[in-house]
Each structure stands twice: as C-alpha cells, then as structure tokens.
Amino acid sequence: MITLLYFARYREALGLDSEQFSITCPCSVQDVIEQLKQRGEPWLSILADSKLMLAVNQTIATPDQALTDGDELAFFPPITGG
C-alpha cells in the first residue's frame, strides 16, 4: 500500500487530497499512473498534463522511479510560491 497525494488544481479537479493505493511490487511510478488512467476523467487529463510534477517521499521524481510499500507519491502542478 502507498499513499497518493494531490495538490492545488489537481486536488480541486479530483475533489480528493489523498488516498491509499495498492501496489504489487516491483512497480514504478509509471505503473501507478497507468492504473489511475483507467479510472477515466478527470484522471486522464491530469495525468496527461505535460506540466505534471511528481514527488516520491517528498523528493521530486520521474515516472521511472521504483516504488515500495509505504511510499508517498504526490502529484502536483508547477510551483508558484514566493
């Protein structure tokens, strides 16, 4: 089981800020993305967003990163703070 987090416009579009998600190891971020896409909209649009950013355990990550049980995977749009 891993934790998925959604922030900002993605959180609003999904009406969801976090969820628990089952994975079967070995598994990468890309595998999770593929499974989420099967839920249809609004997941499809969000996960196809060319500006989508990912963090695994609070560090910026790329889709090829491997996941293990207990990981935290966050999806968010580009940063606009400061």
């Binding site: 987090l5 922030f7 900002a8 416009r9 959180r11 609003e12 500006k51 963090a55 609070q58 560090t59 910026i60 966050a74 968010f76 749009p77 580009p78 940063i79 606009t80 703070g81 400061g82």
Partner: protein, 154 residues
C-alpha cells in the same frame, strides 16, 4: 564555520522589526544584511487581485527550504539565513515571504538571498490561487522564474 539557518512555513504574519532584531543580535562579526520581502501585489498580469490562497505540501516544503538554506551556506560565506513563507488566505499588501541573510561580506549576502528566493520559487511546493473580479484561478508558473532558477545551476 556553521551558519545559523532557519525555515518557517506558517499562516501567521511575521514582524520585520523582530526579524531584524533576531538577525543582528550577537552578530557583530557580520557587516552586511540583505533581506527580501515579497508581498501580495494588487495587480497581477492585468487583473485586479483582491486575495490569494496559498497551499503547500507540508513536510516536503520544509525539507526543500532547509536543503536550499544548506546549499546557500555551502556556496557562500554567510553567518545566518532565515526564510519565512506564509500559507493560507492572504490579501493585497499582505506579506508572503521573507528571506534574510547576514554575512561579513555584502556580495555573499546578496547572492545567497537572491539564490534562496529564486530557488524557492521553482523548488518549494507552494501554489497560489488568486481571487479577483474575474473569479478564482490557480496561477501558472512563470517561465521567467524557471530562467532565473537555471542561472544558479552553474
């Protein structure tokens, strides 16, 4: 020499007087103090902005800010550096972010302070939603911010 480095993410406002007091206290070996204050502008890209909602990723934000402070301290001779970033509901002219750096030498203080705010703008997970006459909208990241951040990657 280890620097005094601090980062805070908070909903409460901060007091510039107090910040300068803390920065200068027992710090007479530092001759140069550079600070950056960012506040909510009432106009952004032509729209009238009446308020702002700032969201962040608790945990990751603090980790990124502390990493950036450590990087600044490694790259420049600074004695102290502090970042305060507010989250939650803010209105026009409210303070958003404070970056203050002290050093024995002004060039180091300027460079570290500008690096910290530039890097924060593209690496620390904060998101702004503006509310104005035209309704609500999440801000888009600015290409100019990405370009500024890249200048420090040398």
């Amino acid at each position: 020499m280890s620097s005094l480095l601090e980062a805070y993410v908070q909903t409460e406002d901060f007091d510039i007087t107090q910040e300068y007091q803390n920065l200068r206290e027992n710090n007479s070996e530092s001759g140069a103090f550079v600070s950056f204050l960012g506040q909510v502008r009432d106009f952004n890209e032509g729209d009238n902005v009446s308020s702002l909602e700032l969201e962040h990723y608790p945990g990751m934000t603090e980790a990124v800010l502390n990493k950036l402070l450590q990087e600044a301290s490694n790259r420049w001779a600074i004695s102290r550096a502090k970042i305060i970033h507010r989250v939650g509901a803010l209105k026009a002219s409210d303070k958003i972010v404070w970056v203050a750096v002290s050093s024995a030498h002004r060039a180091d203080a300027f460079a570290a302070c500008e690096f910290l705010i530039d890097a924060l703008k593209t690496q620390a997970p904060f998101w702004k939603k503006e509310r104005g006459k035209q309704g609500e909208r999440w801000l888009d990241a600015k290409d100019s911010d990405q370009a500024k951040a890249r200048q420090w990657m040398k």
